[in-house]
Each structure stands twice: as C-alpha cells, then as structure tokens.
C-alpha cells in the first residue's frame, strides 16, 4: 500500500472517482492547470482533460450555483472553495438551494454535490485563512458535514461524499495537509509517512459517512474532536496521563450519536474540543447531546475547549490556537470532580 499525505489521499479520491464515473468533475478557483493553491487537484486536468477539472471565476456563490444546476442534470461536481473563509458568498446557494432542493421538490430533484474546502488554523493565516465554519452548516437541515483527520479517512470519506446523493460540505483541516499536527508548534514537523493512517489503498474504498471512530480507548473521560483537534486531543491525553477515550467524529452531521453516548456512559466524563469560536459552535450541540443522553452517567460538567469568541488574530497564532495545554487543563478539571 502507498503512503500518502492528506493532499495526495484527497487527490487520489478524486482521481479514482473521475476514472470510475464520467459524471464526476472538479471545479473551483485555480484547480485546473495549476492544480489548486494547496495542490489537491494537481494533475487531474492533465489526466482527464480541460472540461473535467477546470478553473472558475472568483464567485463562490456562482460556483456552487452552477454545480447545483449540474447536479440536477445528473453530474456529480466536486467543488473546491479555496479557503473556508471564502465560502460565505456561497452560503445562500448552499442553505436556500442545495440543502432544500430535494425537500421542496418532494424528491423530484436532488443535489449530489460535494463542496471541499480547507479550513482551520495553525498556519499563520490570519483571520481570513484560519476559520472553522462547520457550525453554520451543521445547523442547516439538508446538508451533511464531514471533516477528516488523516489521509486514510480523507480519501474514504471523500469518495463516500462524492457518491452520496445529497450535498456534502467536506472541510479539510489544512494544517494536516502535509503532516499530522498535535499543537506542539515548537517541535519539529512530522511527515504523514510516519503515521499509520497514511497507508492508503490506491483504489476505491469508502469510509462511511455518519460513523465516528475511537482513536484511543480509555476509561476516564471521553474526548470528542474532529480535524486537527483529534491530534491535539491525543497529545493532551498522552501528556496528561489521564486515561482518555478519544473519538474522532469524522462526520459532524449526521453525528454518530451511538458512539458518543456509549463512550460517555462508560467514562462518565466528557471534554469537547474544536477550533471554531465557542458561542454556538458545534461543541455546544455536542455538549447538549451528551447532557441529554447521558445525564445520569455524568460525574463532572462537560467541558468545551474551543477558539475564543474573537476573530483569528494573526500575531497570536499560538495564543489563540487550541493546543494541548488547554485540553490538558480541561481534562484535569473534569477529573477533579
């Protein structure tokens, strides 16, 4: 099996799907000849031709709108939004259209589009290259939201998303593109090749949507995370010496409620970690769900470790970024109780 970075794994997912299905095409700003600013679509135009992987005007709303129209025709467009911070111009087409077309037409039309976008911090991207907007999609009925944390999952989840007949928002933690990152920015960069989840089959396979994965079993406390924060959570658990059970949600809508509830019922404690700003973030939903489903099993308040309720300030990357220290502090607090 090949070792792949997350970029290569994502590229491979599109490659496999374009090979299998002539209705799969890729579109977005700079994705064609150039292969995308993060090189995720590299080589696809060359391999499949101009019309199957092409550049678009800088109009995220227009990109998604035309993709929706293509979807209605029977195409499965895979759209790249260059940064998740630039997805807001497409919010109306996603919320009012993609998410509703099946419902409002009583099932006559649907929207098999996948919207990929790099998101999250840790790259000194400042406020407009670091945001984590997953909650504003999670709130919208009719959209699925997927966030991988490693190359293997990235490929399998992206294939599942492309094959899904409903619109999927596929957020890629850009800090993980070239290697795992646990928040220890002071340490040397680690390549994916040293991580077991970089073993990626070249062929078609699926990681099903809606299924979380226990990435570390433990008995003391459940840690819910996704994207880059999975690695931060693992580091925090390891360093704290607390026997945390770390769950990588992988899909946040629909979230794997069974996995979450089973774990918290076992551990009695829960820490939720995400990069997005705290207020009304997806951590609030997770906290509410855990509380509703595991109230009588909880031995301590559920903790949220999240981005602060401010924009992402460029100079203060590491003061702002949710690192292991903040997660450890939360783990310790919940274990005290």
């Amino acid at each position: 099996m090949a070792t792949m970075t997350m970029i290569q794994a994502l590229n491979s997912a599109m490659d496999v799907m374009m090979e299998r299905d002539p209705n799969v095409l890729v579109m977005g700003e700079d994705v064609g000849y150039f292969g995308g600013v993060f090189r995720v679509t590299e080589g696809l135009q060359k391999k499949y031709g101009l019309t199957r992987c092409f550049d678009t005007p800088i109009a995220e709303g227009g990109i998604v709108a035309t993709a929706i129209g293509m979807g209605a025709y029977g195409i499965r467009p895979v759209v790249e939004i260059q940064f998740a911070d630039y997805i807001f111009p497409a919010y109306d087409q996603l919320v009012s259209e993609a998410a509703r077309i099946r419902y409002r037409s009583g099932g006559e039309f649907w929207c098999p589009i996948t919207v990929r976008s790099p998101y999250g911090g840790g790259i000194f991207g400042g406020q407009t290259h670091s945001q984590s907007p997953e909650a504003i999609f999670a709130h919208v009925s009719g959209l699925k939201t997927v966030i991988p944390s490693n190359p293997y999952d990235a490929k399998g989840l992206l294939i599942a998303s492309i094959e899904d007949d409903d619109p999927v928002i596929f957020l890629e933690p850009k800090r993980l593109y070239n290697g795992p990152f646990n928040g220890h920015h002071e340490e040397a960069v680690v390549p994916w090749s040293q991580h077991p989840m970089s073993e990626v089959p070249e062929d078609h396979y699926v990681v099903p949507l809606g299924k979380a994965k226990i990435v570390r079993e433990g008995g003391d406390v459940t840690v819910l995370a996704y994207g880059t924060m999975v690695h931060v959570a693992l580091a925090a658990v390891a360093e704290s010496g607390i026997d945390g059970e770390v769950i990588d949600l992988r899909t946040i809508v629909p979230v794997d409620i069974e996995a979450i509830v089973a774990s918290v019922k076992k551990t009695g404690r829960c820490v939720i970690v995400h990069e997005a700003t705290r207020t009304a973030g997806f951590g609030a939903e997770l906290s509410a769900l855990v509380q509703e489903n595991c109230f009588y099993h909880l031995e301590a308040p559920i903790e949220r470790v999240t981005g602060y309720d401010t924009p992402y300030p460029h100079a203060f990357e590491w003061e702002y970024f949710v690192g292991p220290a903040r997660v450890i502090a939360a783990l310790e607090r919940v274990m005290e109780d």
């Binding site: 019309t51 227009g62 035309t66 129209g69 025709y73 259209e97 419902y103 009583g106 009719g142």
Partner: protein, 413 residues
Amino acid sequence: MGHMIRNEPSLSLHIPQPKCRPGDRVDFSTLDLPAAGEARRPDVDTHPDEMHDMAYGLIRVLDDEGRAVGPWDPKLDGQTLRKGLRNMLLTRIFDDRMYRAQRQGKTSFYMKCTGEEAISCAQSLVLHHDDMCFPTYRQQGMLISRGYPIVDMMNQIYNNARDPLKGHQLPILYSARDYGFFTISGNLGTQFPQAVGWAMASAYKGDSRIASAYIGDGSTATMDFHHALTFAAVYRAPVLLNIVNNQWAISSFQGIAGGEATTFAARAIGYGLPALRVDGNDFLAVHAATEWAAERARSNRGATVIEFYTYRVAGHSTSDDPSKYRPADEAEKWPLGDPIERLKQHLIVRGEWSQEDHQALEAELDAEVRAAAKEAESIGTLGKSMPSPKAIFEHVFKEPDWRHIRQRQEAGI
C-alpha cells in the same frame, strides 16, 4: 480627518422615483416604443458586439391593427397560434380562479401572471420537451403549456392529500421534472446561475438540451444574475437568460433595480453576450426572439440575454395591494396592450379566429378549470386535507438520519 472647506458644490443623493403615484395621472408618453416591424433581425451567428443596438430597441411583430410585420415575423401557422392562445387563456382563467380560491380561504397565498402570459406560453412552443426551464413564480404558463395537469397544480396550491410536493412547499412553487420545469425557489434569482450550470452539464455531456432561465426586473440586482451572466459568458453555456421586466418589484418600480439609466437588456453587453429586447406582450415577437436565441444556443454559440418588456397587471401576490403605490388605472393604460387580446386580434385579422370562437374557447376553458377545481377541492383545500405528516421528515436527505427518525417518533407521527 477634518472636512476641508473647498469651493466645491455639495453633493446630493439621488433616489429614483416613478413617474406617477396613486392620485397622479398615468403618463406613459415618455416611453420610447419603436413601431412594430422596425427592429432589424441580425443573423443568428452575429457577433455580440455587432448587435448592441438590439439591447436598446424593441422587437415587435404585431402592429396596432393586429398584423404581423417585419423581419421578426415567425410565420407561424394558425394552428400553432391557436394553441398559444388557448394556453394563454387557460393560464389567465386558472389564475383568476386560484386568486379567488385564496380570497375564499382555500389556500394561504397566490400569485398571478396576468399580462405576462405571452412570455411563457410562446417560449414553451419553441423549447423542446426535454429542455429545462428554470422558472420564477410567474411562469405558470409554461407548466400549463407543457401539459402538466392543472388539477395537480391545484393540489399543490391546496397542499391536499394529492399534493405532488407532499405539503413541503408554498402554493405555486411547483416542481415538475418530467415537464422540464425546475423546482421553483422562494429565494429570488437563485435559479438563474443554476440554469447556466445545467446548460454547462448538457454541453459537458455532449448532449443537445438547452436551458431557459427566468428572472424579474427587480431580481436582476441579485448576485445570482451577475454569476449567471459571468459563467454563461465564460463557458459559452447553451442557455436563454430571460429577464421579465414587468415594471415592478412589489412596490418598487424598475428604476430601483437600475432601469432609469439604461435597459436591462444592456446588461448583456458588458459580458460580451448578445441581447434582445422584446415586446413581452407580443406573442409573435416572443416566439421569434426565443427561436433566435434557442438556435444560437443549440449551435454552440452560447447564451442570449432577452429582456421582455411587459407589465405586471395584478398585484404582486395576494398579500399585496398595488393601489397603495401606483395609480389604480396604470395597468389599463399600459401602451403595449394585453397579450391575449393582441394575439386574438391577429388571428381574427388573419381570418383564423372569430369573436364566437373566442367566447366558445373561454367557456370551454372555464369549464375545464372549474372541473379541475372541483376535483381538487373534492380532495380538499388547505388544512382540510393534507399529505401524511410523515412527509415532514421525508426528503430532507435521500434517507432519513437518526434525528429524523427520533423526531418523528417524538412527534408521534
């Protein structure tokens, strides 16, 4: 930063105002309306830059006497025209009945297209059955012309047990895939770039289907309008981009959308797209312009923007009272007349129709609409009959997820 005192005139903010408001005398005399037959007909392969003038003129075929004149005369046979007349008339009668049904509390909402019937009824004769139209809420004439059962339209309007959209949608926001009629959105403008995407997909596949999209004068201000024209121009999408300029957007006259400074057709020029500006109340002109644009699209020459110049005779919707913001007799005075009257007149002039034929047709269609209404109402009107409430949780996704299952259980449905 302080304001420097300079010898400069002070600026002032311009707020566009319509010529007349309630109480004013209606005055359309300043409208520049070229005579029928005047507009030239460029070849279908004309370069857009060679036909800018078409964005400022007005394609008109029917003259005041009801004769077809000039190079745009589509030379249609009587049978085709009678079909168009029937569809327009059926649309109007349908509108009138459903408007009354709303007033009688049989549904929550209705919107008429009175005065604009020629646009969708003529276009649907040109488009193929497997072309897709991306309508607004004022293209019911297209659905009717394409033979969609009017009783199903009513079932949708009444959200009754036979509502094809299962109670999910506001009245009149139809969807009819098998009739090439895309699901109507309540959000203005969104369908315009979607149509471009659909057309791009057809080109991508090497098929021959084209798309036809509709937008109101007011809605040309939406981002979607710009996206549609940009993408259509860049990828040369086989799509008709129809702007229905009916002079009003609820209470805002078309100057608020930018109609004071130029025509809406002129927007096309900036994207390098060809534009046609057409008398939207002239069935023959609509037909001819649509043929021109469809031929262009089908021959891989890309998109055409068509402005249909018309007038919204009724209120915006059943929630609206236009006498609050425009003179009550403005509609009557609209100088381009009524599309049904004008086509009828033309057929009579041609000797292919008579007042009696017309009355007979009206009676027939009235009976048809009545019968359909009776059938729909026998199933039930809003609240009296409904699709199964299970439908609340269906079609969010292809398959419900655990939340929909749990919530349906909680709801006891």
